[in-house]
Structure formats: structure tokens, C-alpha cells
């Protein structure tokens, strides 16, 4: 008995897009789901399981497809699963309000010979449209159990469980449908079937009639299958002569006749089983579309939705990070507190390294609130059916550049204007049905202006384009999409040339109210995917980058120099407070270290504290911890105040020294040397070694570019962020706006951050593409930088003139690119 319950019945869930397949899948499996990819491809494979009457069922969600040909990846995956994994049964989700088209797939599933249970879903919509379906009759005609359901309200769940169990137990409840393909084809099908049946190897694995039909449809994958399994291709030569004969006889390809007969059968069944109680001419969906897809109001609504998407996710998401960041920071502090303590100017490796990694992780986790909001909104847009409208409205523009209407969302998320994020952008590419456009979109989304690029723009614009801030910001915000379109087209014409293209035949599904559960589930799934993928890899990458910026480290002499400097600072401190100072005793020897920690702890506690009450509590705690130190911290008497002042001075000097030391380490590191090494070349782009280092090290995190520049342009005063503009101006006296423009353009084309690269690898399906996505922007960015800097200097252009010239050039190139015709479609 126990053994029987451990065996599981594998059930495939098939259905056309928009049939409510995922809702039913969720309904049946509940929370016990596992998301992975089908082997070797980027199509999501969801599995889930449930128990019913003591038996275990494992459900596999097949990609939603309209048919089962070999033309699209999804169809091939669905078909291969059915052919090779041999599930015990298939649940076919059928949209009751759209019976004919859905039956077209049902027939193909049935012909494969795997027992079928039909879930007649969205019964409520069918009813609203005045359709009454005779379920008994439908079941009789299809030779399979038919269960009416309303997925999003959980109606029919029990019955579906029961039908699955029954059919899996008793296969005679299912009879494969036998469609009459007509006088012209049936004799050929019979002959082929006969021949195929003789081949025992083939016919034991596959239904001969199904093979015969697919062969007559000229299905390339099935031909390969035959080639592999049968001898000497005599079946294929028979097929060729039959197909040729057919075409010459009837002047039409057999696949057309086959599709025709399927639809004829579907209409016949629909006519016999569906009663139209009332004629609904204008559905609610139609009325909504009159506004949403309208020539004028359509684009306006689209713009409003995009604006809201930005505002709610990135705008409010950022605000939300104000609340989540302290949590992450306290997590880091918690880790920091168990690691070896901070040294005076030198941190032990076992502290520096783990903290570096943790900083990398929490920097990424900081985006989670934004992603939660973003993924919720995307799920809502997807579930309502608005995505198809978005693609409908903008397809015309994108397709000039080898992109697709469905590229809209990824590019918007990446930051078509300013302040997006490439990670959800790349993840959203999954929805693009055309393989070539999908790849082109994945590759160009990282060129958009993500949030992390913005600080550097703002910094440089406020220094070098102060008088034309508005225009400069507009320039940098719009130039990226202009360039991205050209890049997409070039990729289309070159590396992606051989990729599969899908015809643009896009269903415009009826609008639906999304369910809370469905939306939340998808949002969490995607966020989790991101967190899981990124965290694991970021650790490895962070370690590598750490070594790149810290090794080989300082020479002995320089190390000793910093050591001397450190003790000098300490001596000055003790000299300043004087020997007679009553606190000098407590601070000597180990007391000094202890006091440093005490000082830091008190500072931290003070920052975290809210309100006077909390502050008082903290004061009390610290007074108890060490009353002497507390007096110093609070400057409670004259002598204590003196110590306090001296210590503050020491702290400032110490920080300065640490900064200098770190800077020197970076400059001498592998990364820093690369920066120097590249200067002769990058000079043409106007980058000196300082900029090189800043740009190189921001590869780990772009948002740090400003911070890195900050530390490199460090002068006597520390920590004055707003002074950075002045500092750069001071140190780079020779700089003009052309330098700034070159850097800005390079940053605009900056290679994707590591989490994005990880997502590119996941979505594009290969490391090769990930490397490509990382390298081509560098080449492009350098080209542009050299063009504006060297070109601008040669022509004697001002920064603004160069900016305008570059903009015009980019628009011209993009226009030309848009006009290049695509190669005629493969027939």
C-alpha cells in the first residue's frame, strides 16, 4: 500500500496561450511548485505536485502554444516532452469562450495518443458571452472526459482532480480522435502509416498515424526523427514523391489542407455543442480597446502607464529602501561585529574580505523592494492583457530596428528615459516570442540609463555643462535609446542574422481582472529567481574583484611609511591632551583600542536612535559600560572636552591616512596598473589614468563611480561630497567639457553590471552571449569617447557643439539603420 502511494503519476498540462493555463496549474498544485528551465533552453519549466485520494500526481506545465508544429521553440518543447517523457496523461486547458481555435490544439494532442482530460476553462466568460456548451456531447465527440471550470474562482477543482485520477487509472476512458483529412490526403496517410507500422523500432515509440500526419505537414523535426530511427530513408523518399504528387495534383501544400480539415472538424463540433443564447456584439473588452488602442488616446494612456510604472516602482521603491536599508546595514554590522576588529589603519584580511563580499550582496539586495513593486505591476499588466496592446501600439517603431512590439516593456524597465534597471529589463525579455528580436532586446537593454549611471551624469553635467543642464540631461537621457536602436539593427544584420524569426501574429486577449494570488505568486517567483541567481554568483565575483583591487599590495617601505604615519598621529594625540590630563591613563595601552571601539559604537547607536527617549536610554547604557569614556564622548568636563577635540582630530587624520593607503593600494593593484597601462590609448578618449581606474573599478558597481572618483580626487578635506566638483576642477585644470562628454558617453555605454550579466546569461542561454554583452559596450563606448574627444578637438568644437553634433550624427545613423530593409523572410 505504501509503495503504491510513493509512485507518482506524471501529468502534462497543455493549452493555448490565454486559456488560463497557469491559473489552473496553480489551482491544482497550490504552493508546491518548482521552477526551472527546460534543458538547454531558456523556456521556463514549472513542475508541481499534489496528492489526491492517497495518490501522488506530478504536474508539468508545458509552454502555452497554439499548435504543435516544429516552427517555434515553445511548440517543439511541448511536443518533445510529450513524445519523449511520455507523461501518463495530458490535461488540456481549453478556453470555453474560444472553443474552435482551442480545439485545434486539442486534436493535435489527442492524435499523439496520450490519454487526455479536457479542462473547459473560463466558463464564466463563455456564459457572459451568451454561450451554452453541451459538456456531455463535447466529451462524447472528443473521446475524453471534459470538466468545466472557472480557474480564477477555483470552481471545478475537485472534479478535475477526480477526472485526472480516473483517466490515469482507466485508459479506456480516452479514445484518440480520428480526424478525417479528406479524400485527397487520407489514402496517402494510410499508406505512410502502413509503412511506418512495419518499422517496429519507430512504431513502438510513436503513434504511426501521428507520424504520418506530421510527415505530410512536412515537419522538419519529425523528418529528423525518422531519419534517426529508420533505415535508409525509404520512408522519406516515399514521402517526397507523395508530397510532390499532391502539390502538383491539388496545387496546394498538404499542411494547408490538414489545417483546414482540423478547423472544419472544430467548427462541426462547436456547432453541435455550443448554443448561442444571445448575440453579444460588443464585449466590455471591445469597448475598453476603443479607448486603449485608439489612435490618439492609446499612446497617451501608454505614456501614463509607463510613467506610473516608473513612479511607483523606482520612485516609491527607492523610498521603501530607506526603510529596508537600515535592516541590511544592521545585518552587515552584525557580521562585522563577529569578525576580527578594525585595525588603526590596516584591517585584517579576515575582516576586509568578508565585509567586501557582504557589501556586494547587500548592495544588490537593496533593490529587492523596487523589484517587488515592479514585478507586481508587471504581473498585473500581463494578467490584464495590456501587454499585447502595448506591443500593438509600438510595434511599428521597433520593427524598423529588428525589435518587436514586445520589446517595449524590457526597454522601459531598463530605463528608456532615466533611472531604470537592466535586471528586470532583461528578465522581461522572456515574453518576446520572436527569437531574433528577443536576443536583440536582451543585448540592448543594458544600454539604457539605469539608476546607477545617473550620479556620474549629474556630477559631470553640473561641472561642465552648468549653463545647459537641461539640454545635457535631455541629451544623455535620449541618446541611449537612439544608439540602442541602431545597435539592435546591426546585431540583427550580423550576429543574429541566423536566429529564428517568428511571424507577428499576436492574439489580443480579452481583458481580465487579475487575481491577487496569481499576481503575488509571479512577483515572488521572479524576485526569488533574481535573489537566488545573483547571490550565488556575486560572492564569487566579489572575491575576484577584491583580489584585483588589492593585490599585489603595498611594498614593504610604503607599508612601513604608513605604519610610521599612524604612530605619529597617535603621538600627536597624546601630546595634545598632555600628560597631566586625568584621562591619559585610561587611554594608554589597550585602553586606546577599547576607546576607539567605544567611540564608534556610540556614534552608530546615536545615528540609529530615534527620539529623545531612545537617546537617553543609549546614554544610560554607555555610561554604565564605561563611565570614564562616557565623559569624554560627552565632553563632560574641561579636560574631557580637550580629549574629545583631540580625538576628533585624530579620527580625521586616521581616515585620511586610511583613504590614502587604500588609494595607493588600488593604484598599485592589478586593476590600477591596467588603468595606467591603458592611458596611452585612452588618451584619445580624453581619459587619464585616474579616470581609467574609476571606470574600471566601477565595473563591480556602477553607482560607485562617483565614490571612486571621489576617493581618487581626494584632497586635504575628507568626506565633503559636494566639494567633489571643485576638487575635480582643481586637479584636472586641463579638462574641458569634451573630456566630460567623452566620459558621459562611455558611462552611457558602460558594460552591464554583474547581476545583469548573470541575467543575460540566464536569458540568452549561453556564457558566450554574456561575454558579448559585456564586451561590445566597451568597444562602442571607447569609439564614441574617442570620436567626441579627438574629433571634437580636431574640429575645435566646444562641449555643447560636440554634443549637438554627436546627437545629429546618432539620429542620422539610426534613421539610415531603420531604413535598411530586412532580408526577405525564409520561406
Amino acid at each position: 500500500m505504501k509503495k503504491a502511494s510513493e509512485e507518482k503519476t506524471v501529468v502534462a498540462v497543455a493549452g493555448q496561450p490565454n486559456s488560463g493555463k497557469s491559473t489552473i496549474f496553480n489551482l491544482l498544485t497550490g504552493a508546491r511548485q518548482h521552477v526551472a528551465n527546460y534543458p538547454g533552453v531558456t523556456v521556463e519549466k514549472k513542475t508541481g505536485s499534489y496528492r489526491f485520494k492517497g495518490e501522488r500526481f506530478e504536474l508539468v506545465d508545458l509552454p502555452g502554444t497554439y499548435s504543435l508544429t516544429s516552427y517555434s521553440l515553445e511548440e517543439r518543447i511541448a511536443r518533445d516532452f510529450l513524445l519523449h517523457e511520455k507523461p501518463a496523461l495530458v490535461v488540456d486547458i481549453v478556453d470555453a469562450s474560444n472553443l474552435e481555435r482551442n480545439l485545434y490544439l486539442t486534436f493535435q494532442l489527442s492524435e499523439m495518443g496520450i490519454p487526455l482530460v479536457i479542462d473547459l476553462n473560463m466558463m464564466d466568460i463563455a456564459e457572459r458571452r451568451g454561450l451554452e456548451i453541451d459538456v456531455e456531447e463535447l466529451s462524447r465527440r472528443l473521446g475524453a472526459k471534459v470538466v468545466p471550470t472557472v480557474g480564477n474562482r477555483g470552481k471545478g477543482k475537485k472534479e478535475l482532480y477526480e477526472a485526472i485520477r480516473e483517466t490515469s487509472k482507466d485508459k479506456t476512458r480516452f479514445t484518440p480522435i480520428h480526424i478525417d483529412y479528406g479524400k485527397s490526403i487520407e489514402p496517402i496517410l494510410n499508406e505512410l502509416e502502413q509503412k511506418l507500422s512495419e518499422d517496429k523500432n519507430l512504431s513502438s515509440h510513436y503513434q504511426p498515424r501521428w507520424l504520418a500526419i506530421k510527415l505530410m505537414e512536412n515537419d522538419s523535426e519529425v523528418r529528423k526523427l525518422i531519419d534517426k530511427h529508420s533505415e535508409k530513408g525509404n520512408i522519406l523518399s516515399l514521402l517526397k514523391s507523395k508530397r510532390d504528387w499532391f502539390i502538383s495534383q491539388y496545387g496546394d501544400a498538404p499542411e494547408k489542407v490538414i489545417a483546414e480539415r482540423r478547423y472544419l472538424t472544430a467548427s462541426g463540433i462547436a456547432e453541435a455543442t455550443v448554443k448561442r443564447k444571445k448575440e453579444v456584439l460588443w464585449t466590455l473588452s471591445d469597448r475598453i480597446d476603443q479607448i486603449v488602442c485608439h489612435r490618439f488616446s492609446g499612446p497617451v494612456i501608454l505614456a501614463v502607464i509607463i510613467y506610473l510604472l516608473y513612479k511607483l516602482s523606482i520612485g516609491y521603491g527607492w523610498k521603501l529602501t530607506n526603510y529596508t536599508w537600515p535592516l541590511l546595514a544592521s545585518f552587515r554590522d552584525l557580521i562585522a561585529s563577529v569578525l576580527p576588529a578594525e585595525g588603526f589603519i590596516h584591517d585584517p584580511f579576515l575582516r576586509a574580505m568578508p565585509l567586501w563580499v557582504i557589501n556586494g550582496i547587500i548592495a544588490v539586495l537593496n533593490y529587492v523592494p523596487i523589484f517587488l513593486i515592479l514585478f507586481t505591476l508587471i504581473a498585473i499588466l500581463e494578467d490584464t492583457g495590456y501587454m499585447a496592446r502595448m506591443a500593438f501600439i509600438l510595434d511599428r517603431i521597433f520593427r524598423y530596428f529588428g525589435l518587436h512590439g514586445q520589446s517595449t516593456l524590457p526597454l522601459i524597465l531598463g530605463g528608456v528615459y532615466v533611472g531604470g534597471c537592466a535586471i528586470p529589463g532583461v528578465m522581461a525579455c522572456r515574453g518576446i516570442k520572436c527569437e531574433r528580436s528577443r536576443m536583440a532586446t536582451i543585448m540592448t537593454v543594458p544600454l539604457m540609463n539605469c539608476m546607477a549611471k545617473v550620479p556620474l551624469y549629474v556630477l559631470l553635467i553640473s561641472i561642465f555643462f552648468a549653463e545647459h543642464k537641461g539640454f545635457a540631461m535631455f541629451f544623455i537621457a535620449t541618446i541611449t535609446i537612439i544608439i540602442a536602436l541602431s545597435v539592435a539593427k546591426i546585431l540583427n544584420l550580423t550576429v543574429l542574422r541566423k536566429r529564428e524569426m517568428a511571424p507577428f501574429v499576436m492574439e489580443m486577449p480579452a481583458y481580465h481582472l487579475p487575481t491577487v494570488q496569481g499576481v503575488l505568486r509571479r512577483c515572488l517567483e521572479r524576485t526569488w529567481l533574481f535573489v537566488r541567481k545573483v547571490i550565488t554568483i556575486i560572492i564569487a565575483v566579489a572575491i575576484i574583484v577584491y583580489f584585483l583591487i588589492s593585490f599585489p599590495g603595498l611594498s614593504k617601505e610604503r607599508d612601513a611609511y604608513y605604519g610610521n604615519q599612524a604612530s605619529e598621529i597617535r603621538q600627536i594625540f597624546f601630546k595634545e591632551i598632555g600628560d597631566e590630563n586625568p584621562y591619559a591613563g585610561t587611554l594608554s595601552g589597550a585602553g586606546f583600542e577599547e576607546f576607539s571601539i567605544y567611540w564608534d559604537d556610540y556614534k552608530k547607536a546615536g545615528i540609529a536612535a530615534k527620539g529623545d527617549e531612545e537617546k537617553e536610554a543609549i546614554d544610560k547604557k554607555f555610561r554604565e559600560r564605561n563611565p570614564e569614556f562616557f565623559k569624554i564622548v560627552k565632553s563632560e568636563d574641561k579636560e574631557a572636552a580637550k580629549v574629545n577635540r583631540a580625538y576628533k582630530k585624530l579620527e580625521r587624520k586616521r581616515k585620511q591616512l586610511r583613504m590614502e593607503k587604500r588609494e595607493e593600494t588600488i593604484q598599485g593593484s592589478l586593476l590600477g596598473r591596467t588603468g595606467y597601462f591603458m592611458e596611452p590609448f585612452t588618451r584619445f578618449a580624453g581619459f587619464n589614468w585616474r579616470v581609467n581606474i574609476a571606470l574600471l573599478s566601477s565595473f563591480a558597481a556602477k553607482e560607485s563611480s562617483v565614490a571612486t572618483l571621489g576617493s581618487i580626487y581626494q584632497t586635504e578635506e575628507i568626506g565633503e561630497e559636494k566639494m567633489l566638483e571643485e576638487r575635480i576642477k582643481e586637479k584636472e585644470k586641463g579638462w574641458n567639457p569634451l573630456h566630460a562628454l567623452a566620459i558621459m558617453l562611455f558611462m552611457a555605454m558602460y558594460p552591464p553590471c554583474i547581476p545583469t550579466l548573470i541575467m543575460v546569461r540566464l536569458e540568452a542561454g549561453s556564457t558566450k552571449w554574456m561575454l558579448f554583452a559585456g564586451i561590445y559596450p566597451i568597444v562602442l563606448g571607447l569609439m564614441f569617447a574617442i570620436l567626441v574627444f579627438t574629433g571634437g578637438n580636431l574640429l575645435g568644437l566646444s562641449g555643447l557643439q560636440a554634443m549637438i553634433a554627436f546627437y545629429i550624427l546618432a539620429i542620422a545613423v539610426t534613421t539610415v539603420m531603420g531604413l535598411i530593409k530586412r532580408k526577405p523572410k525564409m520561406e
Binding site: 497554439y66 510595434d395 517568428a502 489580443m508 520561406e827
Partner: protein
């Protein structure tokens, strides 16, 4: 005439699908079968693509795809 020449509001009947390959197959799969009635719902704001009503559901095609469908006006 071909489907891409139809104006919004017009209704027609499919005579033949003239393109093969993936596009032809997809059109067939979606129910663009000789004899089927098609109603043109609307053009996109930039004219292309076009939305049709076929067999009780809505689908949009680019002109380049619609050109492959031969129709007669109803």
C-alpha cells in the same frame, strides 16, 4: 485582393493563404482558413499592425503578414 488592403470596419472572406513556412503555418494555426470570415477592427496608432476579428477572437497582424492572405470583400 489581400487582407492588408482592407479598411477598418470592413468584412471579408478568406480565399487562400498564399505564404508558406512559419508565417503561413501560424496563420493557418490561428484559423485563417479559406472560407473564414474576417472583420477588420482597427489599425494601430502608426497604422501597422492591424487588428482583426477571426472566429470570435481578436488577433493582430503586420501588413507584411496580412498581405499573404487573399480575401474577397463581403
Amino acid at each position: 485582393m489581400t487582407l492588408d488592403e482592407m479598411k477598418p470596419g470592413q468584412e471579408c472572406r478568406i480565399l487562400k493563404v498564399n505564404i508558406g513556412g512559419a508565417t503561413g503555418q501560424r496563420l493557418l494555426d490561428m484559423g485563417f482558413i479559406p472560407g473564414t470570415k474576417v472583420r477588420v477592427i482597427r489599425n494601430a496608432p502608426l497604422v501597422d499592425p492591424v487588428e482583426f476579428n477571426v472566429r470570435g477572437y481578436h488577433v493582430s497582424l503586420r501588413h507584411s503578414e496580412a498581405k499573404g492572405v487573399e480575401v474577397e470583400l463581403q
